[in-house]
């Protein structure tokens, strides 16, 4: 990997520490996203509470990465690939921290859903978009570890699928709400969860762009792929 072989070996150690912390944070994020969705689908409140608790570790890691990154810039004045390594770590940590928050929000809704009327078939669409997003997140984190910008750009291209899926899920849930007003409360929660998941996908796409920047030294210039915008009428947060 690019972060080895400096004449000053403690510089390698600094970059290694950043990389290790980011790997830990990435792993934790995947776990939290997976478990928040599991908690939602199984209505597992203790699991949801654990997710809420774990999110603090993600915040802590983000702080550590930020401090280490800033210190590395101050001490080593990195340039070229080294500078991009540090900047990429800071950016990715930022996106992962947001992903952690979104997983926590899903978990909070699971706790809030307790005792509501919850027809199980409604959650099927959410499971689908969640699977896709989780796969995207795993793939982009692997692409980062491998410094493989082609894999990252594949993730980037697939983000439109998540948007499209979200939009069709939005319509589907609307139909359920119109069908039976008792569905409204639950469906509204699901809709917010789906929106959170869609936004996790956006952050995975940010990470993909960062991997591209890390490898090439320039920003992605193409327009980001978008699903159709029918669902864009609802936007929150």
């Amino acid at each position: 990997m690019a972060m080895t072989d400096h004449i000053v070996s403690s510089f390698d150690a600094d970059l290694q520490t950043l990389g290790d912390k980011l790997a830990e944070m990435g792993g934790l994020c995947e776990k939290l996203v997976g478990e928040s969705i599991e908690a939602l689908l199984r209505r597992d409140i203790p699991l949801a509470k654990r997710v809420i608790e774990w999110d603090r570790s993600i915040d802590r890691l983000q702080h550590e990465i930020e401090e280490n990154g800033i210190l590395t810039i101050a001490k080593r004045a990195p340039v070229a690939i080294d500078l991009r390594e540090v900047v990429a770590a800071l950016r990715i940590a930022n996106d992962l921290e947001r992903i952690g928050d979104l997983a926590k929000n899903i978990a909070k809704r699971v706790v809030a859903l307790e005792g509501q009327f919850q027809p199980p078939k409604l959650a099927g669409g959410v499971a689908h978009i969640a699977d896709l997003t989780l796969a995207q997140l795993k793939e982009v984190l692997d692409a980062y570890t491998q410094r493989d910008e082609r894999r990252a750009m594949e993730v980037w291209k697939r983000d439109g699928d998540i948007d499209a899926l979200y939009n069709s899920l939005f319509r589907e849930l609307l139909t359920y709400m119109m069908e039976d007003p008792r569905n409204i409360g639950f469906c509204a929660h699901l809709l917010f969860c789906a929106k959170n998941i869609e936004r996790i996908g956006d952050h995975a796409t940010n990470v993909a762009e960062t991997v591209y920047y890390l490898v090439h030294g320039e920003a992605v210039t193409d327009e980001r792929p978008k699903g159709d915008l029918a669902g864009a009428a609802i936007s929150y947060d």
Binding site: I7, A77, V79, A80, I81, A219, V220, T221, E223, R224
Partner: protein
Amino acid sequence: MDATATAARPKPTASATLPAGDPKIVAKDVNVYYAEKHALKNVSLDIPERAVMAFIGPSGCGKSTFLRCINRMNDTIASCRVVGSIKIDDQDIYDPSLDVVQLRARVGMVFQKPNPFPKSIYENIAYGPRIHGLARSKAELDEIVEQALRKASLWNEVKDRLQDTGTGLSGGQQQRLCIARAIAVSPEVILMDEPCSALDPIATAKIEELIDELRQNFTIVIVTHSMQQAARVSQRTAFFHLGVIVETGPTERIFTSPNDKRTQDYITGRFG
């Protein structure tokens, strides 16, 4: 953070960092030999006008040698032979009919160690303009000295002691005195060979600030071992390695994403 905005951001263009117009200096296939030693190999380079060009690279790679070609300082080294062409404003400076003294007035030089003459501050500056006949009266000469010291950001510090000896100034002040001396003969190009390597960080910062001002009026070429200095003061950078130019381009690009692995290894501290 909405990333769609960044996705559509256009690529930075080279013209954003490059001054427009023809290059001031054009070197083509320059080869330099010290007796048998082939110190520079087929060096070709355009140096833009009114901008700062930085030369970086490991010791002994030929940066000073190339710098000395630009004002024919290498002529003074007996074993040295220069082949190839260097043009300033389209004029071949190795043309036998060219007046070398005149050339060195057009192309000033500042060295690593400040080297003021063991004379007064005033005389250090006045010497050049006087021998080049740039002043017709004492008043004119006074004016040239003052302007040169002002441009070198030294006037306020020395205006009350112009008759003190130049060697009594601090290292940073001596270096600015040498820059003032170079400026006093109204050169077009200023060559600087590691001008800050003997200076503390404050004195270095003052020289860097000065270089940034001087580039409005002069073409500046600076050799530096500080990557950060090259990144801070220059608009273009050339990376020398083992007597060749490996890579040249806008400084921003060289320090964010160099094309050549040797450049990257050097600027990131991966070989010595």
